[in-house]
């Protein structure tokens, strides 16, 4: 199992671009571990960009929730950007759009940390 994640450091924000069409029970554990590793290593601000993600399931949502809780426990921030419409509707259905700060693009998100 290996997930395609591209990371980039912009100012003090670590951006994780999920370069996968699906974020599901097969691969979301890797994203969850990566966010945990970063927060534990002292990263304070993480932006997860979902531009390429066309499909998310409950495990994918759960991995992001786990990252969000990790951010809180390390006094950090986890924000999201570039959600495709169907992906966004899953956040709405599970009320997670009220939990996450979601931005239209990675650059817009960077200005709001």
């Amino acid at each position: 199992m290996s997930m395609d994640l591209k990371t980039e450091m912009k100012n003090d924000i670590k951006i994780i671009y999920v370069k996968e069409e699906r974020l599901d029970a097969h691969n979301s554990g890797e994203l969850k571990s990566e966010m945990q590793r970063l927060f534990e290593g002292g990263t304070k601000n993480i932006l997860v960009d979902l531009k390429d993600v066309r499909f998310i399931d409950s495990s994918g949502l759960g991995a992001l929730v786990s990252g969000f809780k990790n951010a809180i426990s390390h006094q950090g921030n986890l924000k999201l950007s570039s959600l495709q419409p169907q992906v966004k509707s899953m956040f709405e259905l599970t009320r997670l759009h009220r939990v996450f700060e979601i931005f239209a693009s990675a650059s817009e998100a960077q200005d709001n940390f």
Partner: protein
Amino acid sequence: MEKKDIEVDIKVPNQTRYLSLIGRIGEDIAKELDKYTGDRETLAYHINLVLTEAMVNAIKYANSKDPEKLVHIVINISDDALVIKVFDKGQGFDINTIPSPDFNRLEDRGRGIFLIKSLMDSVCYKKIRNGNVLEMSKKLN
């Protein structure tokens, strides 16, 4: 009148790497339903999602992550309904005792059955000979 029911019967190994294959089959089927008057792209996503959630449920909870086992899925399409059955050979569970997620608490898990129930018109899970079946149906007109 010409009968045009379609039945797709699939068996795949009990591994999450096959989720995308099953999801894709569900999406393709949804896109072929020419009589469906709603938004077909949304229906395709929903069918992909419920198949994914049901299969993960079977893999993790019923088949105990045993990669040698198989997940058996039957999809039936008629003019008025789409019915998906996911068979497992595990101990089973009572779907009615699974609580809806508490939206005020941030849990990593517990949204799968909620999503299935939200997106389908009827959902039941019952014991059959040699195991259990999760049956989900959606009206198409």
